[in-house]
Each structure stands twice: as C-alpha cells, then as structure tokens.
Amino acid sequence: MRPADLTPVARDVMRIPAGPGLIFASFVAAYLFNSLPWSGWALLARPDLVLVVIVFWAIHQPNSIGQGLAFALGLAMDVGDSMLLGQHALAYVIATYGAQVLRVRVLAFPILEQSLHVLGLLVGASIVVVLLNLVLGASLPGLAAAVSPVLAAIAWGPLTWILHLPALRRMRRERAA
C-alpha cells in the first residue's frame, strides 16, 4: 500500500461511497471501544471514538450521516455512561455541525492537517460536556480530560486508513479488471 493513496492528489478513492455495512460496523466498533470498562483517569482520558467516527462520516459521506444520527448516538452514550440524557447529544450535534461546515476545507488538506481540524472539533465537544457538568454542579475534571481529544485526533489518521481500506481494495480490483 502506498501511503500517498490518501493525499489530495490521489483522492479518487474517497469518492467511492462506503457501504451501509461498513458504516454500521464502524459505529458498533467505536461504541464497543467507548464501552470498555474504563475507570478513574483512564476514563477521563478515553478518546471518544464514537465522535471521531461520526465526524469522519459527516466529512466523507455527508449525504448519509448527519446531525440526526449524531444526536441518537449521543443519547446512546449518555445512557451507557449514565449521564444526564442529552449532554453527549448536544456535544455531538455541535461537533457534527462543525464538520459539515468545515467539510470541503478539511478534505483539501493532507491527513496531519485534517487531524488538527478534527482536534479542534473534539476540543469543542469536550468543552461543551465539561461546561454542562459545571452548570450541573460537578467540579472541573483533571488534566487527563485534556488528553482525550488529543488521543482521538491521533486516531484520525489510522481511522481514515482503516475505513478506506474496502474502497481501496475495490478500486484496485476495478483497475485490475
């Protein structure tokens, strides 16, 4: 595999739409990851892969994944984490809106710059959650909470590669044929 496959120059792979199966599987996997028995500081530093996957599909597949799904998955996260219903929903919806607005701009950049954009969106989402909890009377979380968006942004590169693998394979097959 050539790493250059994903640079803007050779981006035709990104134009191949992903199947609903891949999208569904990616969400289930991300939700599983988020549901691992994290606790203590690891819980605070847990990269929110569900949000990264939402942002990914909102950028690469804007016609099928949007704010409605972000809202629903946010509710599911709130239920799983036993938080006030709607917190994650709000954060996810805001991040998805950001992704929709920045979509064309983000796609014009190579992976590293893309993940910096994603970092911004994720930081915004965690600030929303922290602010909401401050309003509800919780105290500020530790510094570990700041690590979470960074880890998630780091995951953007590998995630892009993994989620484009099926498309890459199909493209190869078509070229070979």
Partner: protein, 305 residues
C-alpha cells in the same frame, strides 16, 4: 416565477437550521431529564439496547479477572481463611447476644404499634463497574428491575453503608456513593445520640456533616450510624467515622469531616437492602384530627351549637 430547485439538489434544511433544531432538542431533553425526571422510560428502554454491547465490551476484562482469581495463590486464600475464622469467633459471642437482644426487641415492639426499623432482607449484588461517568461517583450493580430492585434502596457492605440505588435498569442498577456531592444520609452519633445529616463532599473518601453548631459535642473518632428517621435507610448502619472537627468561633457552624466506613474499592460484592422498613407508623396528622371528634361527647360538638 418561483422555481423549485431540481430534486437532485434538494437537501432539506440547512446545517445551521438542523443544528438549531437538534441543539434545542438536546437542551429540552436535558431539562426534562434533570428537572422532571421524565425520561426514565426512555433511559430504561435504551439501556436494554445498550446493555448487551456493554456486556460484550466488559467481557475481556471480566474474563481476565476470573483467570487472575483462578491463579491467585493458595497462600492468600489460606491467610484469608485464617482471618475469617478469627473474625467468626470474634463475632460469635456478639451474634448470640444479638439473638437475645432481637428476641427482647421483638417482644417490646410487639407491645407498641411501631414496628422494627432494622434491616431484614437483602440481596447480594456484584459490582459490575465503577460507573463510566467521570463527573459523579456511582457503582453499576448486576441486579435490576427483574430482581425487584427499586430506586432508593440502601446499599451496604460488611463495614457500613456504601450508598443508595438511584437508577434501575432491567438487569442492572446504579448506586450513588455516599461521597457523591449532595448525597445525604440522616445519621446519629453513637456516643450521645446527636442527630445530624451527612452530606457527600464530592471528593473520594470524605463526607461532610454541615450545619452543626460550634457547641455540638462531636469529637475526632466519633462514629456516625444511620438514624433511620428518613424511612430510607434502616437505623443502626455504620456510616462514617469523624476525622476532623474544626471549630472556629467566627463561624456559626463547625466544619466536620468524616471518612465513610464502607470500603467501596475493596470488594466485588455489596448487599442491597430490599425490605428496609416494613411499615412506617401512620402519619399523626389525620389520626390527631379525627380522635377529638370521635371522643367528643354528643351534644358538645361544634356541629351542634
């Protein structure tokens, strides 16, 4: 002439309109959940969907723990056995005495209308996880609606009160720890029967006892037990031991900090008390109002002037 865009370009509301809609929806959800607790049904049904995923996610860790336990050294088990035997002997005398006391108590209580406020029935529950919300202190337990768990039931371990069940799912329930901010328990000082309310401080391993006057007779090392006057916690469960008493004449109230007796991080099992208070004595207001009317001799009542 007004022309519709061709269906190819038709994409529905703009992202900003969608954002406004969903953000308002999310805020409405939060208000409904926080202020009115109106979404328990939604949470419950969603939790049925989410539960298998969580079980699946927790499976590797559980399996690892099981394997680790299997290989735990025989040494440790032997040592534990010795300790438990010693404890058993230690408690044997107390247990016999308690039987006597229980009999006496039953005898006395039979003579009075109020019934026992002490805990009888309980259910052993395994701690599944420490809750995955970094902002609150909760435990997830493996008993839920199907086992008859209800919101409000006290949760204890061998050393004292752990907390209270605050949310119930189908197969699991959530217990909020005593140390959670604003979680309060009515308590009583064992030494002199002084009543107070212990409130969680939001920090691990400490609870506060606010609003006690500076003159209150509370010392370091005093033991707080539940007073049982709330009808939620049965009386006599160990809650916390006072660790610091700060009396400053400049303030009206003393600053009292206590350490919960229950060791939440040490165990895998807790006990949920299901039948805590069989029947509370009838509220006095109605009875008091009616009695004079009944006992009033005819001819002297207000209705017959």
């Amino acid at each position: 002439m007004h022309r519709e865009p061709p269906p190819f370009f038709h994409r529905g509301p703009s992202p900003l309109a969608r954002l406004t809609f969903f953000a308002l929806l999310a805020i409405a959800t939060m208000i409904a959940d926080h202020r009115f607790g109106a979404l328990e049904a939604v949470r419950l049904s969603l939790s049925v969907l989410v539960h298998p995923v969580q079980q699946l996610a927790g499976a590797p860790a559980t399996a690892l723990a099981r394997v680790g336990e299997y290989f735990s050294s025989q040494d440790r088990l032997l040592r534990e056995n010795e300790e438990l035997k010693a404890k058993l002997l230690e408690f044997a005398a107390a247990a016999q005495q308690s039987k006597l006391l229980q009999a006496e108590q039953d005898h006395f209580l039979a003579m009075t209308p109020a019934r026992s406020r002490f805990a009888a029935d309980g259910l052993l529950a395994e701690i599944l996880s420490h809750g995955r919300n970094p902002f609150v202190r909760k435990l997830v337990l493996d008993k839920g609606l199907t086992q008859g768990i209800k919101s409000g039931m006290p949760v204890i371990d061998d050393a004292g009160v752990v907390g209270q069940v605050t949310a119930v799912g189908t197969f699991t329930s959530e217990a909020t720890l005593l140390t959670e901010k604003d979680q309060s328990v009515p308590v009583m000082l064992t030494r002199n029967g002084l009543r107070a309310i212990a409130v969680g401080s939001g920090k691990d391993g400490s609870i506060d006892v606010p609003f006690m006057p500076v003159s209150a007779d509370i010392q370091n090392g005093d033991l707080f037990v539940t007073s049982g006057i709330d009808g939620t916690y049965p009386a006599g469960l160990v809650v916390a031991r006072v660790t610091a008493v700060e009396k400053n004449a400049a303030y009206v109230f003393a600053k009292i900090t206590a350490k919960p007796a229950a060791g939440v991080d040490n165990h895998r099992f807790v006990r949920i008390l299901t039948a805590t208070r069989p029947a509370s004595p009838p509220p006095p207001t109605q009875a008091d109002e009616r009695r004079p009317v009944k006992e009033r001799p005819p001819g002297k009542g207000r209705r017959q002037p």
